[in-house]
C-alpha cells in the first residue's frame, strides 16, 4: 500500500531559516551569506569590506569555514564582532547553526551581519540560513567553466565577486567567458571584478553592498 507524503526534505531547515529571517528583520539587520570554494578569498574580501565599512556600519561576522580556525582571528583583528561556528566537519552551514551563533550578538546593535559559509560550491547552495542575499566568490585561478559545473550556486546567488584579477596574466581563465557563462544561468547577477590583494574593484562591491543594506533598512 502506497501512502502519499509529499514533504520537502529540507522543510525543517527552511522553517528555521525563515524564523531566523524574521528575527533579523525585527532587528532591522541585513544579512549576507558569502559562499565560495576553499581559498577563493572569502576571508580576504571580508577583511577589505570591514576595513571600508566599519566606520559607517556596525558589522558582525559569523565564521563557518572549517578550513582553518584562524579566520575568526583574522576577522577579530579587523575590529568587528565575530563568532566561530564549529561545523563538526559539515560541508555547509544550516539554519540551526546560525540560530545558535546569532544569539551571541546584540542583533539590534548591528547593521550588517556577514556569514562566511564553509568553502564548498555545492552543498551550501541548498541550505538557507535566513539571509537577505547570497553572494559568491569565484577566483580566476579556479577556471572560467565553474558556472556550468556548479549551476545551482550561481543561480542562487545575487552577486558574484570575481576575485584575484591580479593573477589574470598568469591563468587561462577569461573574465569574458565567466561573464558569458554566468549570463546563461542568472542574468540578474551583479558581477564585480576585484583583487583583494591590490584593492582593485573593491569600491564597486562596497557600493553595491551599502546600497543593499540601505534598501533593506527602508
Amino acid at each position: 500500500m502506497k501512502i502519499p507524503v509529499v514533504r520537502n526534505i529540507l522543510e525543517v531547515n527552511d522553517r528555521i531559516a525563515d524564523q531566523n529571517r524574521a528575527i533579523f528583520e525585527s532587528s532591522n539587520l541585513f544579512v549576507i551569506n558569502l559562499m565560495s570554494s576553499p581559498g577563493a578569498g572569502k576571508t580576504s574580501l571580508l577583511e577589505k569590506t570591514i576595513e571600508k565599512l566599519k566606520d559607517r556600519l556596525s558589522i558582525g561576522v559569523i565564521e563557518g569555514d572549517i578550513q582553518c580556525s584562524f579566520d575568526a582571528e583574522r576577522i577579530a583583528k579587523a575590529g568587528v564582532a565575530v563568532t566561530q561556528i564549529n561545523t563538526d566537519g559539515a560541508c555547509h552551514l544550516d539554519g540551526n547553526m546560525i540560530r545558535e551563533a546569532m544569539n551571541q550578538f546584540d542583533l539590534s546593535a548591528l547593521d550588517l551581519l556577514i556569514v562566511e559559509n564553509v568553502g564548498n560550491l555545492v552543498c551550501p547552495a541548498e541550505f538557507k540560513v535566513g539571509e537577505n542575499v547570497k553572494a559568491m566568490i569565484l577566483s580566476v585561478t579556479e577556471g572560467d567553466d565553474k558556472p556550468l559545473k556548479y549551476p545551482l550556486m550561481f543561480q542562487e546567488s545575487s552577486a558574484l565577486v570575481i576575485n584575484k584579477i591580479d593573477l589574470l596574466p598568469y591563468v587561462d581563465a577569461k573574465i569574458e567567458t565567466i561573464r558569458d557563462n554566468v549570463a546563461k544561468l542568472n542574468k540578474d547577477m551583479a558581477i564585480f571584478e576585484v583583487s583583494c590583494k591590490t584593492g582593485e574593484g573593491i569600491d564597486e562591491w562596497i557600493a553595491w553592498l551599502e546600497k543593499q543594506v540601505d534598501q533593506a533598512k527602508k
Binding site: V5, L10, C91, C123, A125, E126, L152, K184
Partner: protein, 114 residues
Amino acid sequence: MHEMALVQNIIDIVLQEMDKYEVEKLQAINLAVGRMSAAVPEQLQMCFEILTTDHKLTGTKLNIRMVPVTYKCWECEKEFTSAGITFTCPFCESPNPEIIFGRELKIESIEVVD
C-alpha cells in the same frame, strides 16, 4: 557531501509519517530528486544504508526518481525538458529559459508492507 544531512531529514520525516499512520515497517520510500538539485543519488543511497543499520528502517528500499530539468521559454512560453542544462529554447532559440522543475528534493510517498 551534504547527503548525510538530507538523509537524516528524510528519516526524521518518514518516522513521523509512520507514527501518524501507525505503521511499523516500510517496504519503500519514494523520493523525487531534481537533476538541478545538489544531491547525488548514489550518495543518498550510501548514507541511507549507513544511517539505517540496526534501525526501524533496515531493509527499507530507497527509490529515487530523478526529475529532469523542465524549462519554460520567456518568449514563446513553450515548456520543454532537458537531460542537462541548456541555455536556448529549442522552439524559438530565445536565450535563458526559466527553470520550472528540476530542483525538487521531496519525499513523494511511503510504501507499507501489505
